[in-house]
C-alpha cells in the first residue's frame, strides 16, 4: 500500500513544512503520494512534483477547497482513503484542524505531533509540553499521523514525480469563510526560519519590543518570536507566540531576550540547535537550557548586539 502526504500550501507556494513531513512519511517505508488540494494549484503541484522520493502528485482542484477548511478537505481525503494505508500531514493549523476529523470518520485513533518514526506502526511523540516523550504503537489497520516538522529534516527537491488529477466529490461547505487577517512580513516564517529572535516580559511595551527586536531580527534575517507573557501583555501579536500552545520551532539559532523561560515557552524552542539567552535575572530558568547566557539589561545589550553583528 501507499502513504498519502497532505501538502501544506497557501494556494501560491508549497510550504517547506511539506518537505519536512515528507521525510517522516518516507520513514514509514512505503511509497508516498502527495495530495495537493486547493483551488488553482497547478503551480503548487509542479513544486510538489520536485520533492525527492514522491511517487505521484495527486491534484484535487475545487473552489470549495480554497481555504483549506476542515469539512470539505476531510470529505475529500476520506473519499481517497481506501487506496492508502497511512495518511500523513504536517501538524500545522490546517493539519491539526483536518486530520482528527478524517481519523474519526475512518474510526482510527490519530497519532499527533510525532517527532520520530521507529517503525511503520511505532512512533515517538512529546506529551506534557515535552516534559516526557512517549513511544506508542498503533493497532489500527490504517494510520493517521501528524508530524512535528521541526523534528525532521526537509526532503530534497530534486525529483520529477508524475502529476495526476483526482476526481473531487460534491463537497459540502457548512462553515463559510468570512475573512482572514495574516501579517504581511518580509521576514522568514517562524516555522522555517534559520534564526529566531524572541522577546519576553522585559520589554515592557509593544513599542520597545519592536524598536529593539526588529532591527536585530532584520540584521540576522531572523523571524521574530515572543513569549506568552509578551503576547498576553499586547507587546507582540498572537501568531508569533513560541511555546506549547503557540508555535514549536527548532531553528539553528534561537536568541531569547528578556524571557525567563517558563516550561510552556521552553516546550516550543528547547530543540533549537544553539540557544542564546539574554536576561537581567541570573537565576532565570532560561539559562539552564541556554548554550550561551549573558546576564544584563536587554535595553542596552540588544542594541549593542545589533550594532556589533
Amino acid at each position: 500500500m501507499t502513504t498519502l502526504l497532505i501538502a501544506e500550501h497557501d494556494n501560491r507556494t508549497l510550504s517547506g513544512e511539506t518537505d519536512r513531513a515528507l521525510t517522516a512519511a518516507l520513514a514509514l517505508g512505503e511509497p508516498v503520494d502527495v495530495l495537493v488540494a486547493g483551488h488553482g494549484v497547478d503551480e503548487i503541484a509542479r513544486q510538489a512534483a520536485t520533492l525527492s522520493g514522491v511517487g505521484k502528485v495527486l491534484v484535487a482542484d475545487d473552489a470549495a477547497l480554497t481555504h483549506g477548511l476542515a469539512e470539505p478537505l476531510s470529505q475529500l481525503i476520506v473519499s481517497l482513503a481506501d487506496s492508502f494505508s497511512a495518511l500523513v500531514a504536517p501538524a500545522t493549523a490546517i493539519g491539526k484542524d483536518v486530520m482528527p476529523r478524517i481519523a474519526a470518520r475512518l474510526d482510527v485513533m490519530q497519532i499527533s505531533d510525532i517527532i520520530a518514526v521507529e517503525s511503520a506502526t511505532v512512533f515517538r511523540r512529546p506529551i506534557y509540553a515535552g516534559s516526557a516523550i512517549e513511544t506508542v504503537e498503533t493497532t489500527d489497520s490504517k494510520r493517521v499521523v501528524t508530524v512535528r516538522t521541526s523534528a525532521f529534516d526537509p526532503a530534497a527537491r530534486e525529483g520529477s514525480a508524475s502529476i495526476e488529477t483526482v476526481s473531487v466529490p460534491a463537497l459540502e461547505v457548512p462553515a463559510r469563510f468570512v475573512s482572514e487577517n495574516k501579517s504581511q512580513s518580509e521576514r522568514p516564517d517562524l516555522g522555517a526560519a534559520r534564526v529566531v529572535v524572541s522577546g519576553g516580559r522585559a520589554f515592557g511595551s509593544k513599542e520597545k519590543f519592536e524598536e529593539l527586536l526588529t532591527p536585530l531580527a532584520e540584521k540576522l534575517g531572523a523571524a521574530l518570536g515572543a513569549s506568552r507573557v509578551a503576547v498576553d501583555s499586547g507587546y507582540a501579536p498572537n501568531e508569533i507566540q513560541v511555546g506549547q500552545t503557540g508555535r514549536v520551532v527548532a531553528p539553528e539559532l534561537y536568541i531569547a531576550c528578556g524571557i525567563s523561560g517558563a516550561i510552556q515557552h521552553l516546550a516550543g524552542m528547547k530543540n533549537a540547535k544553539v540557544i542564546v539567552a539574554i536576561n537581567q535575572d541570573a537565576e532565570a530558568p532560561i539559562f539552564k537550557i541556554a548554550d550561551y547566557g549573558l546576564v544584563g539589561d536587554v535595553f542596552t545589550l540588544v542594541p549593542e548586539l545589533t550594532e556589533k553583528l
Partner: protein, 249 residues
C-alpha cells in the same frame, strides 16, 4: 439555547511532571490535579454566553474515574447549570472520548459544544474535531473570538500567520485557544454550593461504547537534557563564540 462543555481532569499546569522510574507513564500519585486550562476557557465562554442571555443551559461533561467529579464541581462553581459524569476507570483516548461525548450530545441535544483545543497531558488536540466528524457538525477550532447571533456562530480562529474568521449555522463545535477569554475564579459561596449540587451520572457501559485503546504505550521517558552551557561576560564574547565555536553566524 443549550451549550455543552467537555472538561478533563489533568495534572495541574504548575506541577513539574515526573516520569515514573519504570517508564510506564508519569507520576500521578499525590500530585495536584486541576481542570485542563483550555477547558476552563471553554466553561468561561459558555457561562459568558449564558450571562449575556444567549444560552439558558450550560451542561458540563467529564469522562473518567470518580475524581473527575472534582472538575465538574469546578465547572458548576464557575456557572455551569448542570453536570454529567460518565464514569470509567479505564484510560480513554480522544477517539473514545469523542464517541462518549457524541452519545451524551444525543441525549442532551445541545446547540453548541465547546471544548478546549487540547489537553495539557497528552497534547493530542483531537477530541473536538473528532466529535464534529462523528456528529457531522461544522467545526471552528482554536477560537479567539465567538459571536452567536440567532442560529449562526461567527468564530475567529488562530491560524498559522494570523487569524481566520468563519461563519456557520448551529449546531456546531468550537474549540478554545488561549486568548478567547480569561477564566474567572469561582467565588467561595459558589464553590460551597457546587460541592453539594447533584450530578448526573452515567457509565460508559450504559452508553454501550467500546473504549478499548487503539494505541499501546510502549514506553514513557524523560527527554535527554541539553548539555550545560556557558555564561559569557560581554556582547563581544557572545558574538565571538557564536561565530567561532558554534559557527551559527
Amino acid at each position: 439555547m443549550k451549550i455543552m462543555v467537555a472538561v478533563k481532569r489533568v495534572i495541574d499546569a504548575n506541577v513539574r511532571v515526573k516520569v515514573k522510574a519504570d517508564g510506564t507513564g508519569v507520576e500521578t500519585a499525590n500530585v495536584k490535579m486541576a481542570m485542563n486550562p483550555f477547558d476552563e476557557i471553554a466553561v468561561e465562554e459558555a457561562v459568558r454566553l449564558k450571562e449575556k442571555g444567549i444560552a439558558e443551559d450550560v451542561v458540563a461533561v467529564s469522562i473518567g474515574p470518580a475524581q473527575a467529579q472534582d472538575v465538574l464541581r469546578t465547572a458548576l462553581a464557575m456557572g455551569a447549570t448542570r453536570a454529567v459524569h460518565v464514569a470509567t476507570d479505564a484510560p480513554v483516548e480522544p477517539l473514545a472520548v469523542a464517541k462518549v461525548l457524541k452519545a451524551v450530545a444525543e441525549r442532551e441535544q445541545p446547540n453548541l459544544i465547546v471544548l478546549g483545543k487540547q489537553a495539557i497531558d497528552d497534547d493530542s488536540n483531537q477530541t473536538g474535531q473528532m466529535l464534529a466528524a462523528l456528529l457531522d457538525w461544522p467545526q471552528a477550532t482554536f477560537a479567539s473570538q465567538v459571536e452567536i447571533a440567532g442560529e449562526t456562530a461567527r468564530v475567529t480562529r488562530e491560524v498559522d500567520g494570523g487569524t481566520q474568521t468563519l461563519e456557520m449555522s448551529l449546531p456546531a463545535i468550537v474549540t478554545t485557544d488561549l486568548r478567547l477569554n480569561e477564566p474567572r475564579y469561582a467565588s467561595l459561596p459558589n464553590v460551597m454550593k457546587a460541592r453539594k449540587a447533584p450530578l448526573d451520572t452515567l457509565t460508559v457501559e450504559e452508553l454501550g461504547i467500546d473504549i478499548t485503546p487503539r494505541l499501546k504505550v510502549l514506553k514513557v521517558e524523560t527527554p535527554p537534557p541539553r548539555p550545560a552551557g556557558v555564561m559569557v561576560g560581554s556582547v563581544d564574547e557572545l558574538i565571538a563564540r557564536l561565530r567561532d565555536e558554534a559557527k551559527v553566524l
